[in-house]
């Protein structure tokens, strides 16, 4: 039984469990599922920013969202420490072949040492991935007014047109970069 929990979770188990975030947050306090506005909250809370996007934002009213993010950090740590969370994903053989062309080894853990290993963090390809990628994630989620949680899961659950358009943008942008830009980034 416990092996079922610590073993790999099939997508048809993880998906419904993820979807339960929608009713959980509504029942707990009428909160709409989302997490990327925490970037705005941190900027508003720690920087004396003059932009009205931050200075006129009542970040203290959104402490629940920062607390949710703190919980995510805690939950991820628990998953890795006690629930076998750091196992290598069983990606498809075609993906392993793709990684070989990118000079990325077959998965042996949850994340590739080539990008997320401390020993490789100063490599050009890791720095470009983390710095450029992080910046675009922060900028894009705020411009789109939501991320995979707020638009793709919460927004689509509500059948919102804007969330559908944003989600199509997420996948179009990701497919373009993963197919046409990543081969170059990974060759750095």
């Amino acid at each position: 039984m416990w092996e079922t929990v610590t073993g790999p979770w099939p997508w048809y188990v993880s998906g419904p469990l993820l979807g339960l975030m929608v009713p959980i947050l509504l029942i707990l306090g009428n909160k709409e599922f989302g997490i990327s506005s925490t970037f705005r909250q941190v900027c508003a809370a720690v920087l004396p920013a003059r932009a009205t996007y931050f200075s006129e934002y009542p970040w203290r009213d959104h402490l629940w969202n920062l607390t949710l993010a703190l919980g995510v950090i805690l939950g991820a740590a628990l998953a890795v420490l006690f629930l076998g969370g750091n196992r290598a994903p069983q990606v498809s053989p075609a993906t392993i072949d793709l990684f070989a062309t990118w000079n990325v080894a077959e998965p042996t853990a949850l994340q590739p040492a080539e990008i997320y290993g401390v020993a490789h963090a100063a490599s050009a390809r890791a720095l470009v991935s983390l710095i450029a990628g992080g910046f675009l994630v922060g900028f894009g989620t705020r411009y789109a007014n939501g991320c995979t949680s707020g638009h793709a899961i919460m927004g689509l659950s509500q059948l919102k047109v804007g969330s559908l358009v944003a989600t199509l943008g997420f996948f179009a942008g990701g497919a373009i970069v993963s197919n046409f830009v990543m081969p170059w980034v990974m060759s750095l």
Partner: protein, 145 residues
């Protein structure tokens, strides 16, 4: 007024909800760079199945909560408003976020989760994401939405 409304009880309940979210993100491998590249190359059902079923469960939950006129544990009727449709902001911002999602292999929830999982270089991506949000805040008056 605002800070006083966030009680210890509220802290505990959202911390627990986040903990659950973090466990599912890691155990579902949604945080994995490998899974994200596989998804964007359309080589597995894994991520599409997860997102698709999450939306299905989310939508059915909303229908049920609405039909039952359910209230939150604070006694207030559950009535999520959703996000407005921004004709330029949604597709343009969505595209930019997609670029970053493929580059880092992580969307915002997983950025936090990777920190908890002990993949310390993700701190660089989180710092950069805050800079990206800051840049957006300053450029916002000049961007079409």
């Amino acid at each position: 007024m605002s800070s006083r409304t966030f009680t210890t009880g509220a802290f505990v309940k959202y911390l627990l909800a986040g903990t659950y979210f973090g466990i599912v993100l890691v155990k579902g491998e949604v945080v994995s760079w490998y899974r994200i590249q596989e998804m964007f190359h359309f080589q597995s059902i894994h991520m599409y199945g997860i997102i698709g079923l999450a939306v299905l469960v989310g939508a059915l939950s909303l229908l049920f909560l609405k039909a039952a006129h359910a209230r939150s544990i604070e006694g207030i009727e559950i009535a999520p408003k959703g996000k407005p449709f921004n004709r330029v902001g949604n597709p343009a911002g969505g595209l930019v976020f997609g670029f970053g999602w493929a580059l880092t292999g992580a969307c915002p929830g997983p950025l936090y989760a990777n920190l908890g999982a002990g993949y310390w270089p993700v701190l660089i991506a989180i710092a950069s994401a805050l800079l990206g949000a800051l840049a957006y805040g300053y450029l916002r008056p000049r961007l079409p939405h």
